[in-house]
């Protein structure tokens, strides 16, 4: 348990760095590999700009919570058979809780500076993220069905025969929608969008912004690891050792997520909301029904 | 940890919640009191489930139901608060004065 935790903590910084690198690919924003580190260091040296009458405590804590949620979410992912930081029989539920709390944390982040743009970003984010949460949980339940368990380890073991990606082809794409929402990117970036001058982090600067970005990247890692575990068989794989497989798959999902965030166009919030509720959510039901029929003996 | 200790904490929560529900003037605070009561109730049922029901599924089910009670009632409650607020621009119980006796 402790070993697994340590592995996780060791693996996280490089992965976060990798996430930042992925984000930079194709944007032409300076050095690809060193850029993130340089930027981060620069931010750390700048002062934090205060706002008028903020909610100081929440402002200070929000990035921490965000990071914490990413870490906790990551902790239920098994690195190898039996090697998992928190070996809960209800790991999926804990992951779901992390998702839901992310909404709260992002809202707090937007709310605390007491400024219009962050607040608006926060409102919009909540509206969009709530159905996305629902969506993801239906998909994850679909992943849990063949395992007959809510333990993430069991979900992996149930994929020895065939990956969930095959069982439920709709699952991963739908789950990616959650990933985009959780990490505030792509078509779901209603919290930090450019047209809101940065959204929830519009008023942030210096180390606070650095912490927030760090947490966001960590969340991308956590999400990717979870997606790789739930749909791509996690540590399962021939020849190579389990953790390595997991690492590879995680990186793949990360890349795919970032690419998807770039690829899909943004829509007005109301249309996106309608899309989520009326198209994607029923799709997830269909997905669930599909799995349900498949796994019945 | 024994059943009694769990129940004492639950009772404290329920008591605080009840006090809040009866003493507060603002709707939101009042609902917080109710939520607190139900949280105490959940704690109590979890305690009973663990210590005296021997892990019977009814205990878990009741806990889930209580959560549902909380969520649904509060959802409707806040919708009503919004409606009252729109109507009266007030969110305190004193504003409900039209219907009397």
């Amino acid at each position: 348990m402790i070993a697994a935790t340590l592995y996780l903590l060791l693996a996280l910084p490089p992965l976060v760095w990798a996430a930042a690198v992925f984000d930079r690919i194709g944007t032409g924003r300076g050095a690809l590999l060193a850029g993130p580190l340089r930027n981060g260091a620069a931010l750390l040296l700048r002062p934090v700009a205060p706002t008028e009458a903020p909610d100081r405590l929440n402002r200070l804590l929000a990035p921490g919570w965000y990071l914490a949620l990413a870490l906790v979410g990551l902790s239920v992912v098994p690195l190898a058979p039996g090697l998992v930081a928190s070996d809960l029989s209800t790991g999926l539920v804990l992951w779901g809780a992390c998702e839901a709390l992310t909404v709260v944390v992002v809202f707090l982040h937007g709310w605390s500076p007491n400024a219009p743009f962050p607040l608006l970003g926060a409102y919009r984010y909540v509206a969009i993220a709530l159905p996305a949460m629902l969506l993801s949980m239906f998909v994850l339940i679909g992943a849990a069905l063949p395992a007959q368990s809510l333990s993430v380890g069991a979900v992996v073991e149930a994929q020895r025969e065939v990956w969930n990606l095959v069982r439920q082809p709709l699952g991963l794409p739908l789950f990616m929608a959650l990933g985009l929402a959780l990490t505030l990117r792509g078509p779901f970036d209603y919290a930090g969008g450019a047209e809101l001058a940065g959204g929830t982090s519009a008023e942030e600067s210096g180390p606070a912004l650095a912490a927030w970005r760090l947490a966001r990247a960590a969340m991308l890692v956590a999400f990717s690891a979870m997606a790789a575990t739930a749909f791509l068989g996690g540590y399962l794989g021939p020849v190579l050792p389990g953790p390595l497989w997991l690492l590879l798959k995680t990186l793949a999902v990360m890349a795919a997520t970032v690419a998807a965030g770039r690829f899909f166009a943004r829509m007005p919030p109301a249309r996106m909301l309608t899309l989520l509720w009326v198209v994607l959510l029923p799709l997830s039901f269909a997905n669930l029904a599909l799995v349900g029929i498949e796994v019945l003996p | 940890m024994t059943l009694v200790s769990v129940l004492i904490v639950a009772a404290a929560l329920i008591g605080i919640g009840l006090y809040g529900a009866l003493s507060q003037q603002s709707f939101v605070m009042l609902m917080m009191g109710l939520e607190l009561m139900l949280n105490g109730a959940i704690l109590a049922i979890v305690g009973f489930w663990a210590f005296s029901l021997g892990g019977a599924p009814e205990g878990q089910l009741l806990a889930i139901i209580v959560m549902a009670v909380m969520a649904v009632e509060m959802a409707v409650g806040f919708a009503l608060v919004v409606a009252v607020y729109r109507k009266r621009q007030a969110d305190m119980t004193e504003s409900l004065t039209e219907l009397r006796h």
Partner: protein, 114 residues
């Protein structure tokens, strides 16, 4: 007990780390114009919280309905294969009824809030 301890430790760790990170930068001696929110020069009379409201209450009600549904779904998923077709039918009914809620909400325009 120990299974739940690790996430708690991680939370503490993460919060402490982020807190420490934000303490790294120099103290900002920001002036009033620097701190004031973007308002094109105007001075806000109220908290931002009081000027903007979330307008999607009906949608959140719908969300809560599904969220509750979710809660019943966790135990369902575990016993699904044991229970078999009956479980599928039950959940189908459940989701079907809730879907009508979505449709109705859609028709009533709860997804258009701005």
């Amino acid at each position: 007990m120990t299974e739940i301890a690790m996430p708690l430790v991680l939370v503490l760790l993460a919060v402490a780390f982020a807190w420490g990170l934000q303490r790294l930068g120099p103290e900002a001696g920001a002036t009033w114009p620097h701190r004031a929110p973007f308002l094109g020069g105007g001075v806000p009379q109220t908290h931002a919280w009081q000027r903007w409201h979330a307008r999607y209450y009906p949608m959140t009600l719908l969300f809560i309905a599904f969220e509750m549904e979710m809660m019943f779904m966790y135990p369902w998923a575990v016993v699904y294969i044991e229970t078999g077709t009956k479980a599928l039918a039950e959940m189908g009914m459940f989701l079907g009824i809730l879907s009508v809620g979505i449709l109705y909400g859609w028709r009533e325009g709860v997804f258009r809030w701005q």
